[in-house]
Each structure stands twice: as C-alpha cells, then as structure tokens.
Amino acid sequence: AALKGGLRFQVSAALKEGRVTATELCQSCLSLIRSTKFLNAYITVAEETALKQAEESEKRYQRGQPLGVLDGIPIAVKDNFNTAGIETTCASNMLKGYISPYNATVVQKLLDQGAVLLGKTNLDEFAMGSGSTDGVFGPVRNPWSYSRQYKEKSVPKSCSEDEESNWVITGGSSGGSAAAVSSFTCFAALGSDTGGSTRNPAAHCGVVGLKPTYGLISRHGLIPLVNSMDVPGILTRCVDDAAVVLGSLAGHDPKDSTTIQDNFKPFELPNLTDVSKLSIGIPKEYHAPGLSSEILAFWSKAADLFKNAGAKVIEVSLPHTRYSIVCYHVLCTAEVASNMARFDGLEYGHRSDMNKSTESMYAATRREGFNDVVRGRILSGNYFLLKQNYENYFIKAQKVRRLIANDFVKVFGSGVDILLTPTTLSDAVPYMEFIKEDNRTRSAQDDILTQAANMAGLPAINVPTGLSERGLPIGLQFIGRSFQEKQLLTVAKWFEKQVKFPVIELEVKRHDHGAFQHQKSASFS
C-alpha cells in the first residue's frame, strides 16, 4: 500500500511480524537500484550475495531467531571499505577489479547482525573531493534533481535544454551512499568522513549523516585518506536509525590501535521533551564568507527554535576556525602522500605494462592509476614532508590543529553542551556549475564548516532541516563533545521532530512504481 509522506513504518517490526520478508525487501531494493541507475550511486551491485543473505535472514525470522534489529535490512557501503569477495575500487583505476580478501570490521559487524549488503557506492576517487564527481565511474546525481520539489522550482532555461543537464550534485565524497539512502534503495549506508565527507552529502541529499567521535568506530578495512582524521560515517533517513547503526558498530577493535578501550554500551534515544537544561552554542566564525542567506536564515530559525523551547542559546567563538582550511590542506596532503605510497602495482591493483625498470614501472603505474586530484595531493604532501619544509609546514599545521581542537575544549568547558552550525554554504549546485572550479578549490570552500570537527575528533551530525528556494535540501549540523554521541543524537532527534523535513517525492520515469511507493518513507527502526 502506498504511504503518504511523513508517515514512518518500522521495517524491522514488519520483518518480525512477517508483513514483509527479507527476500521481498531485498528484491524491491535491487529493483529500485535498477530503476535509479541514472543516479550512478552504485559502483557494484552484489545481487547474488545479497539475495543469499536475505534468504538466510528470512530463515532466521521464520525460526523466530533474528540476530537483531538489523537482520534482513538492506544496506549499502561506500566503495572505500574492504568487502571480501566484492570488488573494492575507491572509484580509482588503481583498484579497478581489486577483490579484497577481507571485510572491514564495520562491514563484518553489519553482516554479523544479519544486514543485507546490496552493493558498493560511488565516491570521489579515494574519497578526495566534495562533490562525488571525481571518480572513474563518473559523477553521482543527487536524487533531489528528480524530485517534484526541485522540478517545480526550477525554471527551464530553454525548451531544448534537457532536464538531464540541470541535475545537481550530491556533495561528497560519500555521495553514492547519501544518494542511495535518499532514493530509498537501502535503509542505511556507510560513508567515511575526513573533512565532512559524510555530513556534506547528507545535507545536500536530505538525509541524516553522522560523523562519530574519532576512536569510537574501527577503521580497520577502511582504505585511509587521512588516518588521523578518518572515521566511518553513518547515513540514514532518521536519527533513530543512525543510533541503531552506531550501536552495532561502535566499540574497541584490537585490529585498530586507535580505537578506545572503554566498553561501549549501545543506547536507545530518549524522546527529549524538555530542552531547558540544554546550552546550545552558536559559533560566530561559522558565519563564513560565502554562506548563503538562505542557510543563514535556517540557522537563525533553528537557534530561535531552541531558544523558544527554553534552551540556553549563546554565541560562542572558535577563533582559529579560519586557519582550519590551510591546516587541513597541509596535514591531509601529507598523510595522503604517505598512504598512497603503497600503490605501486606490485602486490595488487593496477600494474602498468611499462617494465623497463622497477622505477619506471612504479611511475607509470601511479600515473595511470591515479587521477589528477590524487596525484596533486601526493605531490603537495611530499613537498610538505621534505626535511627542509617539515618544521614550517607539518609541525606548524600540527600546532594549529591543537589550537583548533582547544577552541572546542574551551567552549565545551564553559558549559556549552552542543554547537549548532550550518553544514554547507549553500544548497546543492548543478553539476555543470560545480565543475567550473577545480577539485581543490571546491574542497577548500565546501569543507570549511565541517573540517574542524575532524581536526578535533569530535562527533557531529547533519540533520535535514528544510528545503531551499530551489526545492533542494538544507541541513544543519550539531557538534557534540567527545564520546557524547548519546547526548548529540538525543538533541538531533528532538530537532528532527521539530522541523519535520519533507519526504522526497522522487519522480522516476520507470516501472515498479508500486514497489517504490511502498518504500517511500521507510526507516528501519
């Protein structure tokens, strides 16, 4: 039966009660993936294995022994997570055809809970970018480009112009995962977040994007961009679902020495009604140059929302925010140069035919395997790591990073519980406009509001807030204290309830409308 927008039904409950089977669920998602192929959200669809997993799940439900809330739930995973037996490409020629022999810890955990892995989602090559436009499999299209909400607001430039050229980007680098969740092809997806790569596309695609505290979730098996900043990200359609996924993923992993040892207890989010004890900080530096007046308005309204509900809302300062872009640039490129050194064609991945010498083979392999963005960052990174530059760039950047992190310590230490900021500078731009500037310029612009949380290792979440004038999603970001995900998500959930973000009215010119409508506003918890 078709469901109206705004109504949620609980898929897990439906599975338990037998109203829908895991196989049916899996098949509808697979079919929808086929119908929405033009979004280019998936690089690999693992149809056979997914159906098998669904079958197994179904048997468990029949025995009355589901593994948990996630049993039978279709999920998607960004293609920079290792998945045994399923290609892992990082959207790069370097790893085209690479089949990893092991599962990333987070993937294994999801599978152990009975989740159904539908496939691997598209991204910017090696997660470098803020548009999901720079991977070898082409750009990801924002599902909202095909929404009634967007179409009715966009003025066609000319009759001859195909609506196809008007499509907007998803943001990045986890654009595929965000698009997959946004278009209902899965119930949750894994992304990664190094400078905003989960929150940014979440904002542009109107979904919840959670960046957990660094050290809470294992990075073992996540192909690294910046080891000291990367975290696995969680994309879902509502905050409750994000909490469920977090609960199944968090905790110490002996295979990842940067995960904390403390025991993690999964939590259920309370339904907060009284926000009067809450102190919300509004960092003034996040009124960044280039922030659209629309977003500013949403941000203001959100602050008022909290104030009117009785919360304490105060302006705070994070004075070193403006240095975060250059700081990030130095540290990110340095780690990239180091992390990419392993791609030499010798043990795995692309190997050039050039074989005059080891050196020439390495050089050709790396030139052929990496795109301009990756190569550019490697060159920059190596420059900063040169002995004569190390002190002035790398060490300096580490010090600035400490200052940025301390800004947050001071603010949270002064009694502020949560920070409220915009996630992006504007709503999603059309692809044709986005590509007018290069990746580096775009990343520098788009990361400004999200990067600092990665520098400081703090948890942060994008909550879809409303639609822009162009009918596209706008999200706001909450930043919390280290390892205080429960508080962060509780506040996010309260806010989500207040703003009642509209359901996307996706207009897909294909068959299978019935199945599609059925999924429309599904959350799984």
């Binding site: 910046v226 050194a341 043990e347 040169l386």
Partner: protein
C-alpha cells in the same frame, strides 16, 4: 707524517626473536617457502593497520636494560618513506623521533698483542635502541630481467642498536659486536646469528688528524660475519688514509664490503641523499611503558609492560657470568672469555669439573688447549664434539688418580677423537698405557733397559 685517528661507529640491526612479526600476527621463521608467512598487513593491502607486538617491546626493553640504557617511558613511531620492491607500503615503520631506549653503554674486552695473556676493557656508548620493521627480500634475476620479491621477512621486528663512534679499529668493532651478540643470545631477545641475517652490521668509518674535526665518513655495508667486520673496517680506514695522503678527498657515500677481494667498493652515492620524509605513524598511539611506581591500579596487566618486572627477570649477563666463573673456579679472566665465546663450552667445562676431582685450574687447560684446538682444527662446534664431557672427565680422572701419565692421557685423547665408542679405560688397557706404580716392576724394567744397552751405559758412566 701526522698521525691519523680512525673513528668507527656501528649501526646494528638485530632481528627480534619472537613468534610473530612486529605489527602483525604472521609467523617469524627462517628459510620458509617464499611468501608463505605474509599477512594482509605485511603485503600492505589497503585498509590494514599495524598492531604492536608485546613480545617485541619486551625484547627491546630487556636489551636496553642490559645495555645500561634509559628506557623511555614514552616513545613514538614514525614512517620512513622510500620506494623499493621489498618495502610494500612504500614506508618503513620505525622510531625516529623518540626511540624506546637511549644513552647506554657496552663494555667489551680485547687481548693486547694477540696473546690471551693481557686483556683490556673498553666501553662504547650506545646512542639508542629503536624498534623498526624489517624489509622483505628481493632477488635480482638479471638473465630474465626480473626481480623476485619474498615478503616473508617484511615486517619482522628489528632492534636497531646505534653505537657511537668510540671505536678505533676493526678489532674493537668486532669485539664490541661479539659482546653484543652474546648479550642478545643470553637475553634471548635475538638469536643474533649473522649467517641467518639475524644480526646485520653497518660500519661508519672516518679518519682525522688529532685535534682536527672529524673527517667525512663512509658507511660500509654487506658485512656478513664478525671476522669480515674487522677486515672491512681496517681496509676502509687504510683506504681513507691512503686517499687523503695522496691529496684526495673522501666522499660521504655508502660502500659495500667485497669479502672475496677483501676491499670496499662504492655502492650508492649518499650525496644525492634520500629525503625519507619522516612523518609520525598515525595508526599507533605513543608507546607508554610503566614501572611499578607509575603503574596505575586499574590498568589491565595484559595491556601493560612493566620495566621493573623485566628488570627482575633479566638473566646473568656475559660479564657477570664470566666474573662468576673466575671466582668459582679460579680460572683466569681470559679463560672465561673463551668459555663464553664458544657456544656450549661453558656447560662442557662445568660438567667436566663436576665429574672429576681434578682442579678446575687444571681442567681448563685441557678444555682450552686440547679440546678447543681440536674442534677448531676440524671446524666442529662443541655440540658436535666426538668427545663428550663425560668421556673427558673419565680421562682426567685416570690422570688425577695417577693411573696414567699426562703424555699417555694425550695419547688416549687422540684415540678418543676417532669417536669409536671406546672408553678411556679401554684405550689405556689396549695400548698398555697404564702407569706402573710397583717399585719392583719398575726396577725390573730399568734393569732390562740398562742390560740391553751396555755400551751406552758405559759411555754415560765414563762421562
């Protein structure tokens, strides 16, 4: 001609004796089939992360304590970048900023004038000990223009021991390394067998005139034994002196020792020096070590390395063992050196001493002069000796009871070397080597001799 002062420093890599590698669980084993001991991490598969091996940390702490170092309670890991076929990740994880141990010393002894009669003790400062990964092995097949890579060794734990340039010649370098080898073997932190690549030594050599600043140094690699170490160092010192006296200059370069030719040859130019672009290893938090005082109560002891506990468990170091041997048995210090120098010789000696009433001071002569020289002549180790400690003890007992003469004993020993399974007593009976104690019998024999040599006797009596 002004005198030259040679300066020798050493960089020694000792493979840690452990079941698994420094940062991964794959096994450590010598001469296994190629690429059979390679974990995903060792092969640098993307997404894999290092996990520190506790045993390797303990080995490094033990070694640091044995070398009188300060153990850094907080040490750090770094990445050292360079491209090479045997380095899958494109970087080595090492400790460049803050190593695990610093500022130690090693005492070693030398014989003056090649005689074992006078020994002098010297000390070399230990700059630091750092934990780092070993690389894999690459074999160049020039006929097929290919390189074969074996990653079994990639990731095995190493302790790099840096000895300050306090040494002045090949002999000193060799003695220092020998002593380090004994210490490592006693601790069990490394088996330190050079032939199996468990101990690798690079020498830094330079010369200068007294009072002038240090000269340009060269690094000498490819030294495969302690004997070659002495040769390589001495050759390099000589080469540098000759070059400088000719009016030439020394290049800051890396040279390889050619054991066949007995000389060093240019290997690669350190002038176009590699920039290793050191960077902190982001996947490993700082290594924190505790002592009993600083140990927090609530920490899981499985997760903690306590320096004091390791200190308590340290075995007697070679220098202590030698001192004890000298004290207990009354042997000379030089003797104790030889005993410890040969694998198994101390046990052999002590067994013989236990099984015989002969004074240790006398036994040692038989061990060092007779047994050892025979073994050396036939290139045998103590373990391979055809004469066991019990057999030798039996023999020495016969000598001590005056049943045979010392000359006869040597004859019996010569027979025993044949390893035919005969006991000393059996050989004595066979060869009729028994000493005759009976006075009458002796007179009888002497008389017979005199009777048989009348002329000679008369000549002797007449003077």
């Amino acid at each position: 001609l002004a005198p030259w002062v040679p300066v020798v420093g050493l960089e020694i890599h000792a493979q840690i004796s452990s079941n698994s590698k420094l940062f991964s669980g794959s096994q450590v084993q010598f001469a296994a089939p190629p690429n059979s001991l390679v974990s995903f991490f060792d092969a640098s598969l993307p997404g894999t992360l290092p996990v520190l091996n506790r045993r390797c940390v303990e080995a490094a702490v033990m070694t640091g304590l044995a070398l009188n170092c300060s153990i850094n309670k907080k040490s750090l890991f770094d990445r050292k970048h360079y491209f090479y076929a045997d380095l899958p990740a494109g970087y080595q994880i090492t400790q460049q900023r803050v190593p695990i141990a610093v500022n130690g010393s090693l005492s070693y002894s030398l014989c003056i004038d090649n005689k074992m009669s006078q020994m002098v003790t010297k000390t070399v400062r230990i700059k630091q000990i750092q934990l780092e990964q070993d690389s894999g092995k690459s074999l160049h097949d020039d006929t097929r223009s290919q390189t074969l890579v074996d990653l079994n060794r990639a990731g095995v734990g190493l302790m790099e021991v840096v000895m300050e340039p306090d040494m002045c010649c090949g002999e000193e370098a060799a003695a220092a390394v020998r002593e380090l080898q004994l210490i490592l073997q006693t601790l069990g932190s490394s088996q330190a067998v050079m032939a199996e690549g468990q101990l690798r030594v690079d020498a830094n050599v330079s010369v200068h005139h007294p009072g002038e600043p240090y000269g340009v140094r060269t690094e000498v690699k490819n030294i495969n034994s302690i004997r070659f170490l002495a040769k390589a160092v001495d050759y390099e010192i000589q080469r540098q002196i000759e070059e400088l006296e000719k009016g030439g200059t020394i290049l800051n370069e890396t040279r390889a020792f050619d054991s066949k030719l007995g000389c060093t040859v240019t290997m690669r130019d350190k002038e176009g020096k590699q920039d290793y672009r050191f960077m902190p290893e982001p996947n490993l938090p700082p290594l924190i070590l505790y002592d009993t005082k600083s140990l927090p109560a609530n920490l899981n002891h499985q997760q903690v390395v306590n320096i004091d506990c390791i200190h308590e468990r340290l075995p007697d170091l070679p220098s202590v063992k030698r001192a004890k041997l000298v004290e207990r048995y009354g042997i000379l210090p030089e003797h104790s050196f030889t005993l410890l120098n040969e694998d198994g010789l101390t046990e052999f000696f002590e067994t013989v001493v236990k099984e015989t009433r002969m004074k240790p001071k006398k036994v040692i002569g038989w061990i060092l002069n007779d047994l050892l020289s025979y073994l050396k002549q036939h290139s045998l180790t103590v373990k391979e000796s055809p004469v066991s400690s019990f057999l030798l003890a039996d023999l020495l007992n016969l000598l001590e009871k005056k049943e045979i003469s010392s000359t006869a004993a040597k004859q019996v020993l010569a027979e025993l070397w044949k390893g035919e399974g005969k006991t000393p007593l059996e050989i004595v009976k066979e060869k009729k080597l028994e000493l005759i104690q009976d006075q009458n019998e002796l007179e009888h024999i002497c008389q017979a001799v005199i009777d048989g040599q009348e002329n000679e006797v008369i000549m002797m009596v007449l003077g």
